[in-house]
Symmetry: C2
Subunit: 455 residues, 2 copies
């Protein structure tokens, strides 16, 4: 229950349609894509930086958890009010403050959808490169808070590389302005990137200055099928050794292909155990060179066929077919997004196969192979406690493997609550302590998304 | 004077050839390219992270200033032992720990020169994009500490965009490991970029994992001359509006051209008052398209001539001729590196001309126009106190102008001691306070490069 004094202060601050306290209304803000449920005691919908500041101040007075939230598409529980308190939904801060094509900049509020940014800048010949699979319905605030990335990160990088500056309200209630408006700037500490990926634990982002990139003239696609994942992993290495980076290099393993085959019997070659979907972008001339280099780099012992796709829809057909099937099995899977160096992919995929055999677990692996960022999905029945225990043990081994291969536990989902218990595998104690102290510096009463990120 | 106990402890830690206490030997470490002189009381040359940690611990015990230093090529006083104490020269930490071409990564110690990195990776088809003009003799540790950039930042970004992870010793003496080895990673706060550009005030970098970029197949150059800076500024805007970014877009103003003309009477067209040196890189086909687009974008009212350079040496001839002349006048100049949005360059250059007339100051302006990053040089006689006072007043107005145009005080030099008094023009009080508190979190006794960055 919220203290009456706090509810009354919030009521004074926000009109009734921007403050939910009814448990039924609040329930919509109880979950994200991690499938965990933690209902907030209230949901506040600020429209301005000043309102955000006022809410943060009130929560400080009452030592009340305040959990910033974009559109709730995260998969690691980052936006869940685990300890109750107030969900701070930024979804109504929807203004695009400026589109400045001459300087390749857009300034927008955090609730603006990634897709809305793309639509606003496309007519000027630009795009904003971060492309999580949720792009059509996730907000830039959430993208920034999680450091989102997607298939095109292999060429264009992630959110971190495409934000110039931020306005934010710290957990202490201070309004800060980070970064600058220009593409170069070295004045003071880089607080912009400290906030990017901080999962709402340091400050609430209320305005973002985003750096735009010119749309490519042309995009070409290649699909390649392999008889085994080892030969596919070698092809990935060979493609990534080419000077011209592909604009996407996505991998589907045997588990993924079988899932598709069960529903679309004729979509894939029967003997394929691994598939690559490869995109190259640039000018027309550039692309023809790149495509032939990539086709050549696909040539490994296990290559079944590598062909240029008729169009981009054809390129992504298998991946699109996989999405609803994955959603179907989603409640029964543990979904990770580990990263290993590209050169270690053969070793990683091989060890992963061994581990899933050893622990008798079905798995589906796919993802952003060009970054070595593989979505490992362990398909379990969560009601089968014995299987769940095996999955937990297997996951622990997978994380150890990733770290041994010089990888990282998360390439784009973040830690949230889901990977909290494992963060010490990657980050040593002194570095973790420093991070915790930074958290307390920004948020001395630990009100902002308390309990997240750190074990 | 250093306490005898500290000297004795340092002597126990380091052999005599790695610890200077003789003032004559120390004097070499008293200056950088800011032309200020602050001799340290000692110079220590660690070889390992553990030695750096031991020195940091000792300095904490004795509350002794410790000023990390690369090769002393900075221009803003960042590496000067202003308050005495110990200069920590990283110049002997020279190991390249690995060149991992398959993953486009090099791991190196901080003393390794930028040029050495380039040489080590070129044969694999790569380069490391940060290209300060000091690249042949500045170290990667210094490049990282200052967030260095150069002409190619317009296409490739600055140091911030090309570092994957760091090992460092905080001011408190903790060894931390930031970032990761892969191109994607969102585990924990981004301490890597917090350290990049922190000018040795937070931690001593002892190892860096650098991200490599494929060398372009071909480079073309264009020189363009304009009868006035206004039309040149319009051309800059037009070039930057093209989808394909140039790999360099450098500007020389009338002052720069006159300086060159005085020594090389036939190098430049007589009627030119502004010049652009433009580089485009990519594949052969790509370049021919880009070059013709750029030549077209140069067409403004004041264009005298725009031509493709015979070769890259010819492209940079004027800039190379300017360098020694600038060094000659260097002791008599105030050298800034302000940035304004590219669309504001016409306004900025025009206002700059008015200000220099108003304050009766000769100036030479040139620089990285594609980023809006202009080196403003006020040519003064420092012994002329009246002129120095005028320059100071003018500088204040220039900084106000830059901020009014939504720019930043420094694009690549950093704050150090030179711009310390002006940082509040750009960074508001709450944000600055937060930065100061971050400093104290990393360095509670304020021993690391004390007094720098903050007013």
């Amino acid at each position: 229950m919220l203290p009456a004094e706090l509810v009354s202060a919030l009521n004074n601050l926000l009109p009734s349609d921007r403050l939910y306290t009814d448990p039924v209304e609040c329930y919509t803000y109880a979950y994200d894509n991690s499938r965990k449920i933690f209902p907030p005691h209230a949901v506040a919908f600020p429209l301005t930086t000043d309102e955000v500041q006022a809410i943060v101040m009130l929560c400080n007075q009452h030592k009340m958890p305040l959990v910033p939230r974009g559109r709730g598409t995260g998969t690691s529980g980052g936006s869940l009010p685990e300890q109750g308190g107030i969900a701070l939904s930024l979804e109504r801060m929807l203004n695009i403050l400026s589109v400045d094509a001459a300087n390749r900049v857009i300034v927008a509020e955090p609730g603006v959808l990634n897709q809305t940014v793309q639509d606003a800048v496309r007519l000027h010949g630009f795009f904003w490169p971060p492309d999580p699979s949720s792009a059509t319905y996730s907000s830039i605030g959430g993208n920034i808070a999680t450091g989102a990335g997607g298939p095109h990160a292999v060429k264009y990088g992630t959110t971190r590389d495409h934000v110039l500056g931020l306005k934010a309200v710290t957990g202490a209630g201070e309004i800060i302005k980070t970064g600058c408006y220009t593409t170069k700037g070295v004045v003071g500490y880089d607080l912009t990137r400290l906030l990017i990926g901080s999962e709402g634990t340091l400050a609430v982002i209320t305005e973002a200055t985003l750096k735009l990139t010119a749309l490519p003239t042309m995009i070409a696609g290649i699909t390649a099928y392999f008889s085994n994942s080892a030969s596919c992993a070698v092809a990935i290495k060979q493609i990534m050794a080419l000077p011209q980076l592909p604009s996407a290099l996505e991998f589907l393993d045997a588990g993924s292909l079988n899932l598709i085959r069960n529903h679309h019997p004729r979509m894939l070659p029967n003997d394929a155990s691994a598939m690559l979907m490869i995109e190259a972008d640039g000018t027309e001339n550039e692309i023809s060179t790149t495509v032939s280099s990539i086709l050549n780099a696909c040539k490994t012992d296990g290559l079944i066929a590598a062909n240029q796709a008729e169009n981009i829809a054809a390129l992504w057909k298998a991946r699109k077919a996989l999405s609803p099937l994955l959603r179907e099995i989603a409640p029964k899977k543990i979904n990770e997004d580990v990263v290993v160096p590209v050169s270690s992919l053969p070793d990683f995929l091989n060890s992963l196969e061994q581990l899933s055999r050893q622990y008798q677990l079905a798995n589906v692996n796919f993802g952003h192979a060009g970054n070595g960022n593989i979505h490992v999905n362990l398909l379990i029945d969560p009601d089968n406690t014995e299987e769940a225990a095996r999955a937990e043990a297997c996951l622990d081994r997978i994380f150890d493997l990733v770290i041994r291969l010089n990888g990282t536990l998360s390439g784009e989902h973040g830690i949230g609550s889901e990977k909290r218990a494992f963060i010490h595998k990657e980050i040593d104690q002194p570095t973790l302590s420093l991070m915790k102290n930074i958290k307390l510096l920004f948020d001395p009463n630990n009100i902002l998304n308390p309990g997240k990120l750190f074990p």
